[in-house]
Amino acid sequence: MKERPGLDVSQLPLHGYSSRAPLWWGNLLMIVTEATMFAIVIGSYFYISKSFSAWPPRPIPDPDLLLPTINLIVMIVSLAPEIAVHLLAVRGGSQRSIQIGLVVSSMFLIAAVTLRFFEFNALKVKWDANAYGSIAWAALSLHLGHLIAATGETFVLTAWVFTHRLDEKHRLDLSVTAIYWYFVVVAWAVLYPIIYLSPRAW
């Protein structure tokens, strides 16, 4: 360490968003591995369907569409406040506007989680009836887990934003949570037609 020149980095900024932030990468990789998990559930769903001549196996009726479709719409609409929060967070939006955005988002999330519990009934089959019931419940439950996780994250952030002055670090947290929520919605947009529409197309 003698007489070596220094590469002075003291003027570098402290915060960056998206691919500049390690947290963003961590979140992205988490999404990658969870997306793999959803893909495997979908693969298993079709693998199991091969064992049956009818799908859903008779006399199980096709799943209800009303409630799940409402929930799908709820989730898609919820993207609006999430995107708003995301943009406000990274573009220096005011604390007040972010608070409002978070409250609106939280309400959508509560609605989605609540509807999900009723969606299990809409399947019209129990998990222990046969392999069809098992895999349909597995897909819903796995996604429910993600819903709850995203909801919990949003609640905690909302609480934080109402009790503290918003700093750069938490703006990053808000953006990352929003990205996670996009993933949860996209995952559902893929699962919904498989669970609810594909049995009708059989």
């Binding site: 360490m1 003698k2 007489e3 070596r4 020149p5 220094g6 590469l7 002075d8 980095v9 003291s10 570098l12 900024p13 402290l14 915060h15 960056g16 968003y17 691919s19 500049r20 390690p22 947290l23 990468w25 961590g26 990789l29 990658v32 591995t33 793999t36 998990m37 495997i40 559930v41 298993s44 693998y47 199991i48 064992s51 049956f52 196996p57 995301h86 943009l87 990274v90 573009r91 220096g92 998990w127 222990d128 009836a129 046969n130 392999a131 069809y132 019931g133 098992s134 895999i135 419940w137 597995a138 919990g152 905690v156 934080w160 002055r165 700093d167 750069e168 670090k169 938490h170 953006s175």
Partner: protein, 649 residues
Amino acid sequence: MNVESATVTTDDVRAREERERAILERTWASPPGLWGWLTTTNHKSIARRYIITAFIFFLLGGIEAAVIRLQLSRPENRILGPDLYDQFFSMHGTTMMFLFAVPIMEALGLYFVPLMIGTRNVALPRLNAFGYYVYLIGGVMIYVAFILNIGVDTGWFSYVPLSGPQYSPGKRVDFWAQMITFTEIAAIVGGIEIIVTAFKQRVPGMSLNRIPIYVWAMIITSFMVLFAMPAVMLSSSMLATDRLISTHFFNPAEGGDPMLWQHLFWFFGHPEVYIIFIPATGLVSTMLPSFTRRPTFGYLALVLSLVATGFIGFGLWVHHMFATDVPQLGQSFFTAASMMIAIPSGIQIFCWLASLWSGKVRFATPMLFILGFIALFVLGGLTGVMLAAVPLDLQVHDTFFVVAHFHYVLIGGAVFPLFGAFYYWFPKWTGRMLSERVGKWNFWLLFIGFNLTFFPMHQLGLQGMPRRVYTYQEGTGWANLNALASIGAVIIATSVVIFIANVLWSCRNGLAAGNNPWESDTLEWDTQSPPPPYNFVFPPTVNSRTPMWTRTADTPVVTGLRSECREVLLTNPLDAEPDRRYEMPGPSIWPLMLALGVGVTFIVVIFTPWGIPIGGTLCAIALIGWFWSGNRPEPNLPGQTREPLEDEL
């Protein structure tokens, strides 16, 4: 970047270095005592625990192997009954694959990747600690079950329906299925750590084409972990629900299919082999320069081979299922893929041979292990090609031939490099060298014992001896070779004992190592042995693939990081241009708490579904604590500028 280089005079450097060192010591120190031990987020402390824990599991798995060899040393031996024998071989496989091989490879990565890329800690240090604790809980849980005589007895791949509710009543398989979830969570966490760290925290100058091959190997391994582990987590969870709440994923009577388990398990299981093997080749490629006095031949070819192996590794899983009713066309495809993967492995071997051919070879203990590795791995690879051929696989599948094959690839291909790496990096860990003389005994006994144990198994398999039999009848003609294999096992055990003795002795009495005893080329040798908690006073910069060999007085070091907080330099993923400074969180108890919450969830669930609400609540509390504690609001600091907008969303 508008970063300016300023030349500093000798006195300035000295004085500044001392001042920095003092501040860094204070900033990066863990709290004292037990509390500090439980809350540390230092990647080296965590990785050291990881390595020691995994090595203990290696010893336990080895003891199980020794008992297996004792039982099989004679026909109709009755030392173990079938029940106990089944537990022993299941625990042996489970331990070696889930609790030893993958964890120790990731642990080495968690220790050395940050050092080799010149940063102070892994990217998400608290998550890293969480990963270790989850792994520890899973490992301890399954061993407690084993000691209570409720160890898993259905093998490390626990095929259904044998492991299903009907044929394996009781809790044995449930512990196993949950242990899978624990270890896979840990593996995924470790993988994420390694990728993010290697992408974002490389020192300036370490562009993609200068990343040490070992770091490449760990990046590729980590990606494989992210794609492979979900399959086994999901399938083991399906198994657990089949057993606990009567789902029917694998129950043919209700439309489930036992073949689904095999597909899911091997979709994970085959990449798993490469998750173990790729880091080992990375170790070899990274150690070779020190013992051939030249950069490893064929950097690009080696890295691309690893990438290719990573991809092809996901296209082989059906070759574990040739004896089932997989259609013939599919079989041909998987045969082709299985043979194809020999090509990148071949490229690596040829590159290593080229390095030897043109290098100045130094026969230190790590080099002996590398040479042993090459010989054994080539042999294991060749039997692998045999297994890829469907007709031959139908003969030797599930026989001792396969046992021989995968021990050649896993012990020859991974444990030999690992022992080499222990000898190579021990000085970095402890500041002392392991005894070279004892090391040579260690190597030769392991090499001879290994071949004595496993080579005869090829013939046993061809002569019809199936795997996983707790005994065999007199007159089968298998007795002599089995006795030979058992003698070999004694020699292996001796070698491992010698290694442990060497470690214990050398910790106190080994030669002092200095910073760079092997005159190596990578950055972990640029700091003290053992490295301080902050790794580098001034992180270095690099100007080539072999930075320690090519640096000059003009090669700059990084200055200007705040020493009063745990700050690291972020660079961009491609060129490693300095980009941001980043403050890391310090010690925290919450990773341990969250791990305990996860532990409660998965263990209680074995006995009652209440595990989910109870454990879920604990996890939620821990997560909130985690978030809240690490998040003091920041003051407005000088140099903190808002970065707008251009690359959002």
